[in-house]
């Protein structure tokens, strides 16, 4: 019996064949199986209203599914529908692999010795495609994006073509002088990487003496100038006991509480060689990051790496989608290639991706785009 897979934005994956419907609600993992007869097919609108009412009484989730089915068009499972989800949300653009730090856990394995970087023509093409696809946010990252000679120009260009939101993910070490002055005027958002209130711990993780003081200075300066600032703290063995003090420290710099996210380290890049079993949130603190497996819209993301390779996300480097040196980003992301799905595999395999991928969207995409989990 051949089952057809559908994606029902923004939260359901459906399999359908001859009266049988299986539905997985992605954000919760709830799995429902509804079996009708060919003449009472659930998905083809042949189910009577009173039967739907009974179904929903037994299983309230089916009430939600019914509303979704009435309000939206089913999309066949293709690479594009899986990547895009309910709409293109975030594009990561790694301007360079080079970094002025060499953090012990870096997923991109960046360091001062790295030389790979995107050239200006490629950056322009990528940003134009991001606009064409209607991405809501472009995050410039790396390595450290501020080291790229094209960073400020990229922000300028993104503003010019009216990409809604630009964010620079940085350690802030190079956020000074004319670079800072020009960026301040362009007013992008900043996301800073930070590890501990304790300079020794922070510098040990970045393996860069003096980095704590320089990042602190950059954060304070951006906050004082009224720029949009958030801070990401990756929790690992070295800083697991610092979380509460680090949180207080960041509040002291003027960062708002809901702009501090503690994220668990992922087994990607150099992080793969380090223990990642640390969840070092400050006690009782409700912040993002570690909790990013929480339900939310299945919005689309993609990442263009410093070598032109395209992935669904910066952490999903096992899922190579193509290279912007071969074809455009827009073409890569809008592929109508059908997804052959092992339906019983989705929930079990998704859990296996948990060590590498922090959010359920990425876990789900990994299973859908690469059914055989090689984690």
């Amino acid at each position: 019996m051949n089952a057809t897979g559908y994606f029902l934005p923004d939260d359901w994956i459906l399999w359908h064949s001859e009266g049988l419907l299986e539905a997985i609600k992605l954000s919760s993992g709830d799995h429902i199986r509804i079996e009708g007869t060919p003449e009472r097919d659930v998905l083809n609108g042949e189910l009577r209203a009173s039967t739907w009412d009974s179904l929903a009484r037994f299983e309230p989730l089916l009430g939600q599914l019914r509303e979704q089915l009435e309000g939206q068009t089913l999309q066949p499972l293709t690479r594009e529908t899986v990547l895009r989800g309910s709409g293109w949300k975030q594009l990561f653009v790694e301007l360079t692999a080079k970094c002025n730090e060499q953090c012990v856990h870096c997923y991109a394995e960046s360091s001062p010795a790295r030389t790979e970087a995107l050239g200006w023509p490629e950056i322009v093409k990528v940003l134009k495609d991001a606009k064409a696809l209607d991405f809501g946010l472009v995050q410039l990252t790396g390595g450290d994006p501020l080291i790229s000679p094209h960073c400020v120009r990229a922000v300028e260009f993104a503003r010019e073509i009216e990409i809604p939101r630009i964010e620079i993910y940085t350690n802030g070490l190079a956020l000074r002088g004319s670079t800072y002055d020009r960026l301040r005027d362009l007013s992008p958002s900043f996301a800073f990487s930070f590890y501990s209130y304790n300079p020794e711990t922070h510098d040990a993780i970045t393996r860069t003496p003096g980095s704590h003081a320089r990042t602190t200075r950059a954060i304070r300066r951006a906050v004082d100038d009224g720029l949009n600032v958030r801070v990401g703290v990756v929790s690992m063995e070295q800083n697991q006991h610092d979380a509460s003090k680090t949180y207080e420290y960041l509040l002291g710099l003027g960062v708002t509480g809901d702009s501090v996210a503690f994220a668990q380290m992922r087994d990607v890049g150099r992080g793969d060689a380090t223990s990642s079993e640390v969840d070092a949130r400050p006690a009782g603190l409700q912040t993002g990051g570690v909790e990013s497996t929480r339900p939310r819209n299945f919005g689309g993301s993609a990442a263009v790496s410093y070598d032109g390779k395209v992935y669904p996300c910066i952490f999903s480097r096992h899922l190579l989608l193509g290279s912007i040196y071969d074809t455009s980003l827009e073409t890569i992301l809008t592929s109508a290639e059908p997804i052959a799905l092992q339906k019983n595999h989705l929930l079990t395999a998704r859990a296996q991706w948990g060590e590498k991928l922090s959010c359920w969207e990425c876990q789900t995409r990994s299973v859908l785009l690469d059914g055989n989990c090689n984690a």
């Binding site: 007869t37 189910l47 299983e59």
Partner: protein
């Protein structure tokens, strides 16, 4: 009556509940799944006769009394449907007491 007597008694699994709709369909809900099964009115009629007491012979006999169909045909259809329910682990069998 069937040519070969069948005294087996189908019994519904304990975790099942059902509801009859106003169009005489039956929706069966298995909380151990969860899975739902929508039965058309014919299948619903058989399902409703599964009470842990009626044998296959009883069920078939009652249907034959209400529809214009050959006993052998009804028996075949009933067995096929019960076989599907068994396959889905919705019923188990016991011998008539």
């Amino acid at each position: 009556m069937p040519e070969v007597s069948d005294r087996r008694v189908p019994r519904r699994k304990d975790t099942l509940t059902h509801e009859v709709t106003d169009t005489d369909e039956v929706v069966i809900y298995d909380s151990n799944g969860p899975q739902l099964l929508v039965l058309n009115d014919m299948a619903a009629g058989i399902w409703l006769m599964i009470d842990g007491k009626r044998t296959i012979d009883d069920i078939t006999g009652e249907i034959v009394n209400h529809v214009e169909a050959e006993c052998a045909t009804v028996t075949r259809d009933v067995l096929a449907f019960l076989g599907q329910l068994e396959q889905r682990k919705l019923i188990a069998w016991q011998e008539a007491t």
